[in-house]
């Protein structure tokens, strides 16, 4: 036997035979991700249907379908199109935005702790928003703008502070955590000197809530996402190379530093945008991608599964906060997402023994 299956008479047939294990491996890999996506999409659909049907006034499935195709009674139309659907849509959009943002951060910086809510990007948005509400006394639109700006400023600061002829994930995360503490301190100061009624509004915003969603702002958010997400899709190929480390990525023709900057800009924009619209829904960005990657488990970027997990978390959290918790009505969804995320953070810190490992 010759050590290698190489002969001088190779033709297209043997080439196809040689490639068969590759084709099979690819098929298995894609099938796995497709199945995860299908199951998650089914779950999202289920949660969406339940969210639209259940409430102070329950709709049956036929009621809901009739209303959705435009045949509903006035009261049903009001409940679905004015109350529940906007809220659901907003939850879905911010779920996607937070989840994709977290996935980008974690992949590009190669660190599971690299997530906008851990490294102070959403914190920066919060501080700026609360400053706007409490000190400047601006309205909700201006608050959103301030939140977006705050996230951008903080992200730039972290990037510049972490720059040493390039940005390494570990240093970026450490500096980010430091910056997160600083903005937390700023927030505490702002809240402590505000009067009680204003502080209460600010606190609700700080937990994060999708209540009070209106169609114009949803359309605006959707428009931003329609620009950002295709941009992320274009950069996905480069991201797959960055997964292999900067040196390998560069050797394969990716300009590592430049690609990382572009991806970080997209990630910060997504997180800032989502925070501007609903407040910092804690930990959605942090947990979605790791869960998705554990489900898919092929080393794929798993951006679509991550987005679906994000949507599941935000929609279920909002539903739980609205209907399943006793006591005050209409709790902000951020309470639930925080309750999911915090134990995961503890678990991660307890099990992650190799510094810098991840994504």
């Amino acid at each position: 036997m010759r050590p290698r299956p190489r002969t001088g008479a190779a033709n297209l047939t043997t080439e196809a035979e040689a490639a068969a294990p590759l084709v099979l491996a690819r098929f298995v890999r894609h099938r796995r991700e497709r199945r995860v996506v299908l199951v998650l999409a089914g779950l999202v659909l289920l949660v969406a249907a339940v969210s639209l049907m259940v409430g102070a006034y329950n709709l049956s499935v036929p009621d809901l379908l009739r209303t959705l195709v435009g045949q509903g009674a006035t009261s049903e139309n009001f409940i679905v199109f004015k109350l529940r659907l906007p809220r659901l849509t907003l939850a879905i959009l911010v779920g996607v935005a937070f989840a994709v943002s977290g996935a980008l951060f974690q992949t590009v910086l190669r660190n599971p702790l690299a997530s906008p809510d851990i490294i102070g990007v959403t914190g920066g948005a919060s501080a700026a928003a609360v400053f706007g509400m409490l000190v400047l006394g601006v309205g909700s639109v201006a608050t959103s703008f301030m939140a977006f700006g705050g996230a951008m400023v903080v992200a730039c600061a972290i990037y510049l502070l972490a720059w040493r002829g390039g940005v390494a994930g570990y240093r970026f995360v450490l500096i980010g955590v430091g910056v997160a503490f600083m903005v937390q301190g700023l927030l505490g100061y702002l809240l402590s000197r505000a009067d009680l009624r204003n502080a209460e509004d600010a606190l609700t915003w700080l937990v994060g809530s999708v209540s009070g969603a209106r169609w114009p702002e949803i359309a605006l958010l959707a428009a931003f996402l329609a620009v950002l997400l295709p941009g992320v899709a274009v950069l996905a190929g480069r991201m797959r190379m960055l997964q292999l480390g900067d040196d390998t990525a560069s050797a394969l023709g990716v300009r590592a530093e430049r690609s990382r900057l572009a991806l970080l800009v997209a990630a910060v924009a997504l997180a800032a945008l989502a925070t501007a619209f609903v407040g910092p829904l804690a930990f959605v960005a942090f947990v979605s991608a790791p869960i998705a990657r554990r489900l898919v488990a092929t080393g794929s970027l798993a951006l679509v599964p991550a987005a679906l997990i994000g949507v599941l978390i935000t929609t279920v959290a909002d539903f739980t906060a609205q209907h399943l918790l006793p006591g005050a009505l209409d709790l902000p969804a951020g309470i639930i997402t925080g309750a999911i995320g915090a134990p995961y953070l503890l678990w991660l810190l307890a099990t992650q023994n190799r510094i810098g490992k991840g994504a």
């Binding site: 050590p3 290698r4 299956p5 190489r6 002969t7 001088g8 008479a9 190779a10 297209l12 080439e15 196809a16 040689a18 490639a19 294990p21 590759l22 084709v23 099979l24 491996a25 690819r26 298995v28 890999r29 190669r110 040493r164 002829g165 190929g237 797959r240 190379m241 997964q243 292999l244 480390g245 900067d246 040196d247 390998t248 560069s250 050797a251 394969l252 023709g253 990716v254 300009r255 990657r293 898919v296 488990a297 092929t298 080393g299 794929s300 991840g358 994504a359």
Partner: protein, 289 residues
Amino acid sequence: MPQPTDQPATVAATTGPVAAPAASARHELTANALSLGYDGARIVDGLDLAIEPGAITVIVGANASGKSTLLRGLARLLPPQAGTVTLDGRNIESLPSKQVATIVGLLPQQPVAPDGIGVADLVGRGRYPHQGWFRHWSSTDDAIVAAAMAATQTLELAPRRMEELSGGQRQRVWIAMALAQKPDILLLDEPTTFLDVTHQIEVLDLLHELNHEQGTTVVMVLHDLNLAARYADRLVVMRAGRIIAEGPPAEVLTEAVVLEAFGLTARIIADPVCGSPMIVPVGRFHSTV
């Protein structure tokens, strides 16, 4: 030493009818008065080196002599502080990085594999520089990846995951990825580190085969002087960021050069296996002559 193993027909067969005439186009990689370093510290200082096309060049030197830095510079992972690296006479910094990647490949010392990644997926990513906006994955890519995996004997590992493999298997998969890139010049930073002696020989034999059968220019950093002397066509000996000797191992590797480069007194004998120079270190003890 180099045996005339396979005829050109074999090369054509492994790369397939679809492959470009890669081996025929010999590319020239040159360092011109090249200075490299990190944060102001200069590690490689005003160095000139022309990589001989179609040969195996091995860079040796003591720790911190700048050999890995030089390799990173040649692979344009590190921008020069002064001087240039040229590919076929053109400054490598001014060429599109994807275009360079179709000619120059690099296997870093410790490449990173994402959690859960499959072998076939990883090797396939080596095709990245050949893909673009309008050119997506095709059966040509499959054929090239399959050939790269056959050459490194990793085809049967295709369904497995990287974390299931042994160190030697993993290194072969990484080399397969670099081969899938189809570079004319392949740079490797200590490809045998962390491998036991059997796997070291296996990897070096593979690179020898690649060089002799496909005409790929190989440039690597090696720690083991004896293996370097055996596998190199040209040896580059570095000390403190400069080249102190360069040429065929038999001419370059003298007792004086070893003393200068490593501060080590050694005897040189002929390798009983292949006749290349072999270093026998003289320590402070155990000497009977």
